[in-house]
């Protein structure tokens, strides 16, 4: 289990709460800090002493106060800590739930877990620690799990619109295939047209081709 944990969190009540949960569950050495700069110093010092931290739990947002800081956000701390100690496990613990920011944390800063602050965060943080410690898989709070999976972005293009227009004009799939071939489209075979129609049916929640056309007509797409 984690032997040495660093908590970087500027709100005292949260910090205390978190530490009490951690202490209840693990017999670890736990240090807290309110500033990202201090957190990085602690990580560096521990490395120097040969007793490095093996887990960092950090918030993303820190209040500005009288102190001039070099690292002003959780992202910056994560980035600096990663380059200082690549094998450090990092859990971000934040109320931020913007998908873009979270995705970026996983993709760019290679954090190990993201736990959203909320009613269930006490149990979630324990879960996260267990998973992160035992495996290399990442953890995300269940309410945000759709972000960690590759978020399904439903995108269509001009060719889809052309296809829908042809369909609404009453053209058959072989006829459409012929037209697309003449227009120099690469995906003009009847099977790729079929695939496209199926994709569009799913996107537009249509049960069949007729339903699809009536939906897109109602939406003014064609």
């Amino acid at each position: 289990m984690f032997k040495k944990i660093l908590v970087s969190e500027d709100i005292d009540s949260i910090s205390f709460g978190l530490v009490s949960i951690l202490q209840k569950n693990y017999p670890s050495e736990i240090r807290t800090t309110k500033y990202c700069d201090d957190a990085l110093l602690k990580i560096k010092a521990a490395l120097h002493e040969g007793k490095p931290y093996d887990l960092l739990i950090t918030d993303l947002s820190f209040k500005d106060d009288y102190r001039d800081v070099k690292l002003s956000s959780g992202e910056e701390l994560v980035e600096a800590a990663r380059s200082e100690q690549p094998d450090l496990k990092i859990i971000v613990y934040s109320i931020d739930d913007k998908p873009y920011r979270i995705k970026n944390l996983f993709d760019k800063y290679k954090i190990n877990a993201f736990v959203a602050k909320g009613r269930d965060s006490s149990t979630e943080i324990i879960e996260a620690m267990d998973i992160v410690h035992d495996t290399d898989t990442i953890y995300t709070s269940p309410q945000l799990s759709h972000i960690a999976r590759d978020m399904a972005i439903l995108e269509i293009d001009e060719d889809d619109i052309t296809l829908l227009k042809y369909l609404s004009d009453g053209l058959t799939q072989p006829e459409i295939s012929e037209l697309l071939k003449n227009a120099g489209k690469t995906s003009s075979s009847t099977s790729s047209i079929e695939k496209r129609i199926n994709k569009l049916k799913i996107y537009f929640k249509a049960n069949n081709a007729i339903h699809l056309i009536s939906t897109v007509k109602d939406m003014g797409i064609i």
Partner: protein, 570 residues
């Protein structure tokens, strides 16, 4: 700032150049000798301007010089100077003005006898009247010139020109008599352009008379003109041939009309262009005819405007000069200052233009700053809500959950309520958080839209990556993000939609975003505007954009957002 400096330097240079061009002091002695000297000086200045291809300025000085010559009773010089003025007016398309100047000149010429002068003035008056379609008067003056002319080639040219006027009068027999005489002249082979003109006129007259040799002559003329690349002549050849084929071979007629019109673009002659268009309209039908009629109307308007401007310009100059005639010594000064005035006007225009540009840039910058301020305030507040209120609330929630301050069902209720407040503050901060306006903007926008996709709703995106986001200002990106977020929140709360499409596209200078869903829609978009959509409109207006509702379709909710792409300063 660099631009501003160059403009200022330019102004100084312009003014300096204007000042150096002033005349040496005008003498006050009224002796004839001095006046003649002044007249000559003015004449020289006029010629200088003419060499510099500034006919307007030359016209000023010729007029001043002409008055001095008259004072000095040098009638020949005065008449010749007036003729020069008439020629300048003719070249600018001011035919009525040119006629008046020429007639003044002719009136003065009663005082002397100079055949060379008479030849020139008659030819000029002939040409002016031809342009004014006074065919009889044109013939009258050309005949007079014809009687004096001694040069064989010039005689041939006059015959051809007179024939041209007879053709315009539809008197083909007389025209042919003259043309055949000209064709027999030995001088004809010295100038292929003139030769082609004569043969073409013969061919055209034959055609009008129903003579079989018409086509042969017209083709011969066309070949000569093609050979020497005589653009002006070729236009006429093509027009005549188009007319020739008009009823017998409409396709050929149209082909020649098109050829004529195409070739007119190689010269700046409005008249030929208009004539070719008239021919094209005559041989076209349907959409083509409409299009050419449209071209004709535009061109005719331009041509009329140009002529009118030329007429007004010269008339004004003459009027001003006449007003100052009581004070002849001042004329020279006046004219000089006039040219200085011109330069000053130019300078003034340049400075006005540059200050307008500067003002525009400043207001744009100010607007930008205001918008960025608003955005900064928003972000700051949301960070405060996030950092302070939400976190404190969460801390309290945490504390109550783990300490035994309250107990039982009351504790559960309190925690639930606190949790609700916590979620609310979190939503506020989420909706107003900072936006990455850099390279990852489109990805971020896509992800934001995708978060509203769930089991109930499919949010479909089209064309986000087709937009050149790098070129678009941060303010506009922020507004785009916020507006779409607002629309998604609205959709989530009210629309009951199951499918939403956001279609991004960019037209010439605009970004266009179409939102459409299949929800319950709204009967009256105005009511809707009062609520959440007012924000959307405000944001669009603040970046110079607009919002429009599609009320045509009965189902769902559709609206279009547009805003301009950045203007590039060159």
């Amino acid at each position: 700032m660099k631009v501003k400096i160059t403009i200022v330097t330019l102004l100084i240079l312009l003014i300096a150049a204007g000042c150096t061009y002033s005349l040496s002091s005008a003498a006050n002695d009224n002796t004839i000798k001095d006046i003649t000297a002044q007249a000559k000086e003015l004449d020289l200045v006029a010629k200088k301007w003419e060499q510099k291809k500034l006919p307007d300025s030359a016209f000023y000085y010729y007029n001043a010089s002409q008055i001095k010559y008259l004072d000095a009773k040098d009638y020949l010089k005065a008449a010749n100077t007036l003729l020069k003025m008439a020629q300048i007016q003719y070249a600018a398309g001011d035919y009525p003005g040119s006629e008046i100047s020429a007639m003044k000149s002719l009136y003065i010429s009663k005082n002397f006898k100079d055949l060379n002068y008479l030849l020139n003035i008659y030819k000029h008056l002939g040409a002016t009247h031809r342009e004014l379609s006074n065919n009889d008067k044109a013939i009258f003056y050309y005949e007079k010139a014809y009687q004096i002319e001694k040069d064989t080639f010039e005689i041939l040219k006059l015959q051809s020109t007179i024939a041209r006027v007879y053709i315009a009068k539809s008197e083909y027999t007389t025209a042919l008599q003259l043309l055949n005489k000209a064709k027999k002249s030995g001088a004809i082979d010295s100038d292929p352009i003139e030769k082609a003109a004569i043969i073409d006129r013969i061919g055209y007259s034959y055609f009008k008379q129903g003579n079989n040799s018409a086509l042969k002559a017209m083709n011969e003329a066309m070949e000569i003109r093609q050979h020497v690349n005589d653009i002006n002549g070729l236009v006429l050849s093509y027009l005549h041939l188009s007319e020739f084929y008009n009823s017998s071979d409409p396709d050929n007629a149209k082909l020649y009309a098109l050829k004529a019109y195409a070739i007119t673009w190689q010269s700046s002659n409005y008249k030929r262009k208009l004539r070719s268009l008239l021919r094209l309209i005559a041989v076209s039908d349907g959409k083509d005819a409409d299009m050419y009629s449209h071209h004709y109307a535009i061109l005719k308007n331009d041509a009329d405007h140009n002529t009118q401007t030329a007429e007004n310009k010269f008339k004004k100059m003459l009027d001003n000069a006449a007003r100052n005639a009581d004070n002849p010594e001042d004329i020279a000064k006046l004219e000089v200052s006039k040219d200085n005035n011109k330069i000053l006007t130019l300078a003034l225009m340049a400075s006005v233009f540059s200050s307008v540009l500067l003002f525009y840039q400043l207001t744009q910058r100010h607007k930008k700053e205001r918008l960025l301020d608003a955005y900064a305030a928003e972000t700051r507040l949301s960070k405060k809500i996030h950092d302070e209120i939400a976190n404190e609330l969460y801390g309290t929630l945490h504390y109550i959950e783990h300490e035994d301050i309250v107990s039982g069902s009351k504790k559960e209720k309190l925690i639930e309520q606190l949790d609700n407040i916590y979620l609310m503050t979190r939503n506020i901060s989420r909706e107003n958080n900072d936006i990455d306006t850099g390279l990852r903007f489109p990805v971020q926008l896509k992800l934001m839209l995708a978060t509203y996709s769930n089991n109930g709703v499919n949010v479909i995106v089209k064309g986000i990556s087709k937009i050149n986001w790098e070129k678009i200002e941060s303010i506009k990106k922020i507004a785009t993000y916020r507006v779409l977020q607002e629309l998604m929140v609205n959709m989530d709360k009210h629309s009951k939609a199951t499918v939403v499409l956001i279609d991004f596209s960019s037209e010439k200078n605009k970004v266009k975003i179409i939102y459409s869903d299949n929800g319950i829609g709204t009967d009256c978009p105005k009511i809707n505007l009062k609520n959440g959509l007012q924000n959307v409109e405000n944001r669009m207006v603040s970046i110079g954009g607009s919002i429009s509702f599609d009320t045509k379709s009965e189902k769902g909710f559709h609206l279009t957002l547009t805003y301009p792409l950045p203007i590039l300063y060159v």
